[in-house]
Amino acid sequence: MSEVEQSISKVIVFELLKEEYVIPVDKVRSIEKLLTITRVPRTANFVKGVINLRGVITPIIDLRKLFGMKEEPYTENTRTIIISHEDYEVGMIVDAANDVIDIPIHSIEPQPEVIGAMTVDYIDGVAKIDDRLLILLNLEEVLQMNHTNETVMG
């Protein structure tokens, strides 16, 4: 029984440029609709600013910008996923967030390496469930990207 439990992880699925990404559900504090963002000057370009999340000032990053994807205007479906990792509490803007699923650990494969494609640190692997291809995001790496940029700035 415990073996089965261990081999499954509950994740939240979100959409980014028509692809589906997942993050562990226990890292997610809440999912919000787009709130008014106050720009914070002189920060990395993917830092959209801060929001007032029920009295707590929470920084917001735009994942599309962070991953160097094409920017598009926000839509009805745009969501902010508030994640909490170690000391950080950060909101990530994604195209849509609509699903919570269980993925068996064994279905996770390392990121396919193809010539011409660039491997990135912030992806842990991919999982194929039925017809869906889910990309596992490494939150630690995603949050770390801020630091490198900041030191360059400073």
Partner: protein, 686 residues
């Protein structure tokens, strides 16, 4: 048993008890003969022992137990208080403190305390008191002489009349001494049961200690009840013995003659006390005075207990956050009610606004803590330092009740410790030097806290040697911090400020206490990070004063809201000198730097819009709004688009993710729920 949920309470209460021990030990050192103080210490130690044994901290419990034995000896006049004994007890308390702190940090509270334990045992056995035995004997003798009086109760006039009348009507009067078993758990309950038994067949005139104290279990095993009844002594004793956990009952006849005698002497001595308080000695009047004092103290303590509860600061923070949420919704409601113009609605909303602003005051006040929580560890520290350095120091604490925000309290401790160490080590001279300088042998250190306006001031004043200006200058020149030319134009204050810069120590000798030149700069930066400032005043030969200015609270500040393009920013009022509107052609250019001539002073301009890369809006105004801000004696003008107004805002951090944003010290939530960033003026003025 899962004890983790009690751990926090245990740690808090233990710290309190240790604090009491420390304070009372200091008191005892001043009045070694006052046994009431020993009792207070004993009670704290006893509670501590019980708590730590329950929580399973054996080392803690056994050390406390040993300390308690010694205190018990002192209390029963078997051991005489000497500085040597106090030192050992102080050391024991130190160890206890260390253990508690180790538990608080998640440790197991274990520590090798054998040295202190063995010296405590030695004291307990009287080994170190070989020469004191003679005195001890006499003390014991006097105690013996006193004891019959101590055992009996004293009666006031009313009680005496009652007794007299009862006697006349043929009642028996007994003074019943009831002893509970040592292992009795619910002493108050047993007392209650005894009283109930007694009430059935007679009337209780008086109990010693008083009923209040009995109910609070503030007695050892024995208490005395003065009782009027028709039943015989034996029957009375049997009845009381039926109550479980009663060890023994001894009923004594009371002769009214003796009481009246007592009454007389009582009155006499009371009169004596009124004339000359000095003269009260070992007679029973002093006992009664002490009794009443004792019960008063205990009553006071009881009142305090009833009126406070423990709430963790986290919960208060949560409350604060929820409340802010409420404020934001209130803002929205106000707006909606204005739009709807429904009289009932707007009345309700107005009422709600008033209530919520009252609520805000209360919540903010809850976070305020008296500065005493920091100050109360200093007497102990000063005593130790004075001993280590062979100096005589009189520490005076004034205004310990002054309140400060909890966050400030947490941070201010270390800087104060440093300044006090500094004052004792460098400031106050050794007794012989002081005497040869025509000063009192004992140096005075005054620690003073007080409110003024929106700030709290903490003053550390010593009447020691003061700061030698020439020495500071010589040192600064040697270290190349200053040039001869600069020295000439420096004010006294500026010279003193030098000792706050890093790597600066004028002490000739480096001691364990201070003088390594690290520290005062840390003190300065800590205080500045709290939004405060520190200034030094000193007269050589007379002493120095360090004045710390702190904001009342860190979480609420007054700001000027300004607009840059469409964005709103806040500038702390504490940095603003004034605001002004100038014509564009008044802006001058000096070597690529825009400046203005403001009140005959050239002030550099900072264009916030450019600095913060605000999306440009076209405004071809003839005038520009400027906020003049200061940092120390430097100033600058911030060019903004428009002023919105002054507001009290709640300061919040941007979170760990955005920990070091340039020129932004935090953010706040405005009435409409939007976030406004707070500009860090210190970062913008070089």
């Amino acid at each position: 048993m899962d004890i983790s949920q009690y751990l926090e309470v245990f740690i808090d209460e233990s710290k309190e008890h240790l604090q009491t021990c420390n304070e009372q030990l200091l008191e005892l050192e001043k009045n070694p003969s006052n046994l009431e103080i020993v009792n207070v210490i004993f009670r704290s130690a006893h509670t501590l022992k019980g708590m730590s044994a329950t929580m399973g901290y054996e080392d803690l419990a056994s050390l406390t137990h040993q300390m308690e034995n010694v205190l018990d000896g002192i209390r029963n006049n078997k051991i005489k208080v000497t500085p040597a004994i106090l030192d050992v007890v102080f050391k024991a308390v130190d160890y206890l403190e260390e253990m508690i702190f180790s538990i608080a940090d998640g440790g197991n509270g274990k520590k090798d305390v054998s040295d202190v334990v063995s010296s405590l045992v030695r004291i307990e056995n009287g080994e170190s008191l070989a020469d004191g035995s003679g005195i001890e004997q006499t003390v014991q003798d006097t105690i013996k002489n006193q004891s019959p009086l101590n055992l009996s109760s004293k009666y006031d006039e009313f009680e005496y009349t009652v007794l007299q009348q009862s006697k006349e009507q043929g009642f028996n009067i007994y003074e019943t001494q009831i002893t509970l078993r040592e292992d009795c758990v619910l002493k108050a309950a047993r007392v209650f049961m005894v009283f109930e038994v007694l009430e059935q067949v007679g009337e209780i005139i008086k109990s010693t200690p008083s009923v209040d104290l009995l109910e609070e279990e503030k007695f050892e095993q024995t208490f005395i009840v003065s009782y009027v009844t028709r039943v015989t002594k034996e029957e009375l004793e049997n009845r009381i013995m039926k109550v479980s956990e009663v060890e023994s009952v001894v009923a004594n006849d009371v002769s009214l003659d003796r009481i009246s005698l007592q009454k007389d002497t009582n009155d006499e001595t009371k009169a004596e006390i009124a004339v000359a308080t000095e003269e009260k000695t070992e007679d029973m009047s002093s006992q009664s005075v002490e009794d009443s004092k004792n019960s008063r103290n205990q009553q006071k303590a009881a009142n305090l207990n009833n009126k406070t509860i423990r709430v963790s600061i986290e919960r208060l923070d949560i409350l604060m956050n929820l409340f802010e949420e409420l404020v934001i919704d209130r803002g929205r409601l106000e707006q909606i009610s204005r739009e709807l113009t429904h009289s009932g609605l707007s009345e309700t909303v107005e009422r709600m606004s008033r209530i919520s602003s009252d609520l805000q005051n209360i919540i903010l006040n809850m976070r305020m803590v008296p500065v005493e929580t920091v100050f109360n560890r200093f007497p102990r520290m000063v005593r130790q330092l004075a001993r280590d350095l062979n100096k005589k120091i009189d520490l005076q604490i004034i205004g310990a009740e002054t309140e400060l925000d909890r966050t400030v309290i947490d941070e201010i401790g270390d800087p104060l410790v440093h300044l006090i160490r500094n004052a004792i080590d460098h400031g106050i001279e050794t007794p012989d030097v002081r005497l040869s300088n025509g000063k009192n042998e004992e140096g005075t250190l005054i620690l003073k806290a007080y409110h003024s306006g929106n700030h709290v001031f903490i003053e550390i004043q010593d009447n020691g040697a003061g700061i030698n200006k020439d020495k500071v200058i010589a040192k600064a020149l040697k270290q190349g911090v200053l040039t001869e030319y600069e020295v000439e134009s420096m004010t006294e204050k500026q010279i003193f400020d030098l000792i706050l810069s890093s790597g600066f120590s004028t002490a000739d000798k480096i001691s364990d206490v201070s003088g390594r030149g690290v520290g005062l700069d840390v003190v300065k930066s800590t205080i500045e990070s709290l939004g405060g400032s520190i200034t030094i005043d000193s007269i050589e030969g007379k002493g120095s004063t360090f004045l710390i200015q702190l904001p009342l609270t860190l979480s609420i500040i007054s700001v000027l809201l300004i607009e840059l393009g469409e964005e709103k920013y806040a500038i702390p009022l504490s940095s603003i000198i004034e605001t002004t509107i100038i014509k564009k052609d008044e802006i001058l250019s000096a070597h690529n730097q825009k400046v203005i001539d403001f009140r005959n002073k050239i002030i550099p301009l900072v264009f916030l819009e450019d600095l913060f890369e605000v999306p440009a809006t076209d405004s071809e105004d003839e005038y520009v709004s400027v906020v003049i801000v200061k940092k120390g004696d430097k100033s600058a003008g911030f060019v903004v688009d428009s002023f919105i107004g002054q507001q009290e805002v709640v300061l919040k951090s941007l979170g760990n993710y955005l920990s070091s944003v340039f020129a932004i010290s935090g953010a706040t939530i405005l009435g409409d729920g939007q976030v406004a960033l707070i500009i860090d003026c210190n970062a913008l003025i070089k």
